[in-house]
Symmetry: D2
Subunit: 365 residues, 4 copies
Amino acid sequence: MGSSFGIVFKVHTWGESHGRAVGCVVDSPPAGLKLNEEDIQKELDRRKPGGKLASKRKESDKVEILSGIFEGLTTGTPISMLVWNRDARPEAYEPIKNLIRPGHADYTYLAKFGFRDWRGGGRASARETVARVAAGAIAKKLLSEFGVGIYGYTKEIAGIRCEVSGEIEEIFKRAEKNSVRCPDEEKAVLMEEKIIEAMKSGDSVGGVVEVVAKNVPAGIGEPVFDKLDARLAYAVMSIPAVKGVEIGSGFSCSKMRGSEHNDAVILKDGKIRFETNNAGGILGGISCGEDIVIRAAIKPTPSISIPQKTVNVETMEETEIVVKGRHDPCIVPRAVPVVEAMVAITIADLMMLQGIIPRSLIKKH
Amino acid sequence: MGSSFGIVFKVHTWGESHGRAVGCVVDSPPAGLKLNEEDIQKELDRRKPGGKLASKRKESDKVEILSGIFEGLTTGTPISMLVWNRDARPEAYEPIKNLIRPGHADYTYLAKFGFRDWRGGGRASARETVARVAAGAIAKKLLSEFGVGIYGYTKEIAGIRCEVSGEIEEIFKRAEKNSVRCPDEEKAVLMEEKIIEAMKSGDSVGGVVEVVAKNVPAGIGEPVFDKLDARLAYAVMSIPAVKGVEIGSGFSCSKMRGSEHNDAVILKDGKIRFETNNAGGILGGISCGEDIVIRAAIKPTPSISIPQKTVNVETMEETEIVVKGRHDPCIVPRAVPVVEAMVAITIADLMMLQGIIPRSLIKKH
Amino acid sequence: MGSSFGIVFKVHTWGESHGRAVGCVVDSPPAGLKLNEEDIQKELDRRKPGGKLASKRKESDKVEILSGIFEGLTTGTPISMLVWNRDARPEAYEPIKNLIRPGHADYTYLAKFGFRDWRGGGRASARETVARVAAGAIAKKLLSEFGVGIYGYTKEIAGIRCEVSGEIEEIFKRAEKNSVRCPDEEKAVLMEEKIIEAMKSGDSVGGVVEVVAKNVPAGIGEPVFDKLDARLAYAVMSIPAVKGVEIGSGFSCSKMRGSEHNDAVILKDGKIRFETNNAGGILGGISCGEDIVIRAAIKPTPSISIPQKTVNVETMEETEIVVKGRHDPCIVPRAVPVVEAMVAITIADLMMLQGIIPRSLIKKH
Amino acid sequence: MGSSFGIVFKVHTWGESHGRAVGCVVDSPPAGLKLNEEDIQKELDRRKPGGKLASKRKESDKVEILSGIFEGLTTGTPISMLVWNRDARPEAYEPIKNLIRPGHADYTYLAKFGFRDWRGGGRASARETVARVAAGAIAKKLLSEFGVGIYGYTKEIAGIRCEVSGEIEEIFKRAEKNSVRCPDEEKAVLMEEKIIEAMKSGDSVGGVVEVVAKNVPAGIGEPVFDKLDARLAYAVMSIPAVKGVEIGSGFSCSKMRGSEHNDAVILKDGKIRFETNNAGGILGGISCGEDIVIRAAIKPTPSISIPQKTVNVETMEETEIVVKGRHDPCIVPRAVPVVEAMVAITIADLMMLQGIIPRSLIKKH
């Protein structure tokens, strides 16, 4: 257990960094959704390694859909997808197989399971997020049929923070244009400099991803535990490297007064809306019709080539480790589609549970 | 659905602010745990309203255990507990029953369910956390049998932040001594001033709660979705008023370098340990044997007596609302035992799932 | 865990035979269902002990609803219900507390939990089914709003089997009129004779309960594991004393040919229907629009006053036991409302999951 | 949802009869179990089509393990397996794609999803059980490490019923030797005759499968809903073509007296055991240490070449259908390994939940 997420739109992932493949089963979007491999591929391509700031691992990450589609439509039964690992190089990890890499899950998998797949972190590798992005692509396609858009970008890298305003679609487009996925071009340049600087010294940097879900209808979320914000926190905190999650005002709420934090209730086109959005679109764990706004803190990549203190678990002696290889000096830009995916999965799940997304998109017989 | 939490140590809560009672079913701690109402009561007393900084609602919050105990021991079957609502005053809400209180769940419950129990927020009230604290008391008692301690305190109120150091038991004891539950006495005075200041102007303030779980064994947590940090974020974000959750370094990780953030691996008494704890005790979603450290951002109480813009849902006209009544100007101190409870429930659940806590504490027949 | 049933219409039960109370939490029917204690009470009264063929335990079984109702309507949040145990007499069990009662769960609870609540079977008692019937009453009320009726009766007792035909409502009414709940009056007399005969010799008899669900819409059930028949089997087999479950033709299918067993597909009022109903209303795990027909085999009451071989777990010596006290010589008639309850819960759950029963019965704001 | 089974040993299946492949994810057996493709293949080979009494579809059913194994041992993370469909011939179904095949799920899938994959039943095909058998093979391998054996055979076909006695391993071996999987050779001949007779007239026959689980330790099963018998009924009733499930005495209990049905409690080698086994190894939903005995009624194959009444859903006119093609005249023998698989999965799941099977078979670091 542990590799499943979702209540009615369920995602099950599998696979290791240097195993044969990674994949997932999505059980299930409603019947009648148009879906093909291209819908999935375009999201995987956003996550794919490559570029001057990313890992040199060469993976085409071509997705194959194995079930659940008939005549171009989802059938309402499980969709199985896989991506073959083409550029796995487990041998690169052989020299350090007995060394615990700081900041990684090496020791904890050992403590839990008694031994571990040391090939690039095995199941604990960020490569596992390929499956999340594939599942998320289905959720995004489904949400788009109901007018809901999921937009992510880099909010902060290495202390450089950008402020955003304007139409979320435009913000998103701008962000997609640069290598750090930051919607503010000037800040993007500064972020890139920080990354290159860290990379040169064999080090890495962290940041913050922000995701906005637009047009989520009011009424989504299941109090008191399966609240929309609780499910989002669960989903996003499960992503490798995430150390914090916040909704709307987030941690800044601790410095605000009630009169400042409360979003005034107003009428707009005869409908109840809110003047501000400190709530991040969620009140009492249920969506209120405003944009859902969520941020995730991403830690600096633990794989660095600077020597670090560690322990050899074979000899049980203290020693040093230098993690060589193909690692991103900053995973924030590649984390953006992963956070989007988890947000999309969570919202699709709760919209189905609420009955806003029906079990079939086809007029019944 | 929605009112259950836990995989094998399951908690189901029920009840409304101004209904007959609030309660929970805990299904189930292992058989053979010594447990009585006093174990529960002492935690409820920590959460209870009262004191100069808290709501004037008079609730003795006496818990009754209705099942699952035989001859002073848990039987391994569900424990049902309830607390009667003694000082419910639904009539106080009658005048504003058609007004959407800003910052509350009034509109979202209406949007989801088509109508709402307007008596003090109904199910959305923080009174629901009585049940969480009762369930958490069982989890804490159980964890204590396995050497695990759960310690919470106020980290920040209204921008006043305290730093803590030393033995966690001592920090906890100091915090319990003052009305704001802050372990730093000087900061506690400042926090109290801020609260009184806000109260006087009919306003409210927010803050941050920190909880430390000590002696959690390595190996707890179920990758890749039911990770310990993901489950903790899920649990804690489900608490009313929480807008953010972070583990270890949390959002500050975004400004750190990998060489700074990684916790060096060392040997201590022949065992693998970590020199620092930016990880907050969790790597790859699994506990590493260091203290689990989690923080929750608590928004300022939405009930304030300053006039606010709102809408009357009966007339569908914009108007103003003044929320009178018995509200805490700052709920951070009373949120401390609630966050502790959710952390305890989460850890007990995952320790049972890992088999570290067995199904019976009694030597089998 | 273990005391919960349902995917979205969840039922959590608690309580022991001779503890303070038994009860349940139902999380949750849709908002806007008219519901009061009388709706529950009338079903509990059908299950209640009493009459010449039943246990002499005097329980009024008065239900109290503690949450989830506002102004006579369900709010969409958990409904907590309890029934106080009034005539508990744990002392009656003291003399046999170390003896394993054959046919009961005494030994298995001991093996699982290391000790056991020996007061009348504790959690393993059929008294637990009070909670099922209370929850089932909500499910039945909800289903009736959607035209679905749940009708149970005794099919067989002690080898006396009745055949039924005609309108199910009439069959049901006839069955409710006699003490064995058999729709065939002549067979009812024979069944009663068999029960009295067994009772006189300190023995007990078993039988078969049949439940028909009428007007269940086509399309209910979630292949390939949460099929309607699989969920029904799960639900009904979880009832104490049930040793077998069958749908439609059931075990008799093993003697039929395909040409005989297949239900011909026909048109009726322009709609697809079936000429016969060997399928029992379910094909491929999904309802087909015909009556759902399910039968449960009920074993003879294990509590008998004839001496039986057993073991004293204190001395670990073989000995004899005579189970005195207040037991039904045949629990089949009282099992009828329990099987109905589990069938109703299962169908309500899957209808909600399919979106046929919405989350709110009230026109949304 | 719907395609997952299990609480902690979870199985997720996917795939259609004439899609690209069928497969499953098993999440997860404990770490450290020796496992290879041959362990899976030998069970798939038992289920494989072929032989004079079975479908002429030519499938080698070669399994591929894609994840979760490292150096020959399970890692404790999800095991993904697939079997490519080699002999899919969807075109064979084209002529009848608008006709509802009696006894099949054609109409119900249409009613539920609004359209259907008509290629050989799509997801509703018995081909889906390939995935169950693959998952069950892991469960069986795991159980065998703990001394638990799962043994299935044909109990009845077309009214010919065999009685079995002696060592279950021997019974099992005998059954595996003939084409109908019946442990009684003489009865096997009669069964085969019945099948051939039906086949010649284009018809089909049903039967009963019996599975015995040996050496299941006492204490398995989670009252009051996740009882061992309830979980077994759930698991087995979810298999295509199963119309009834019974445990131990099963439906025959309805004709027995309590004094006859109760299994006397005795001492054997100083341990509590039972003289008879009408309970089928389960009391109060918990295993008692005796053999678990379960039977499943299997309906006659619905695909028959005798003309049947049906409806054309395109024209909505009544018509006739003749189902040609590659079908088993009796699926009972091939159902045996499927029932075994579901029983094994259920028991492995509950043994893990009880902590009898630990999370790692490797001595911890």
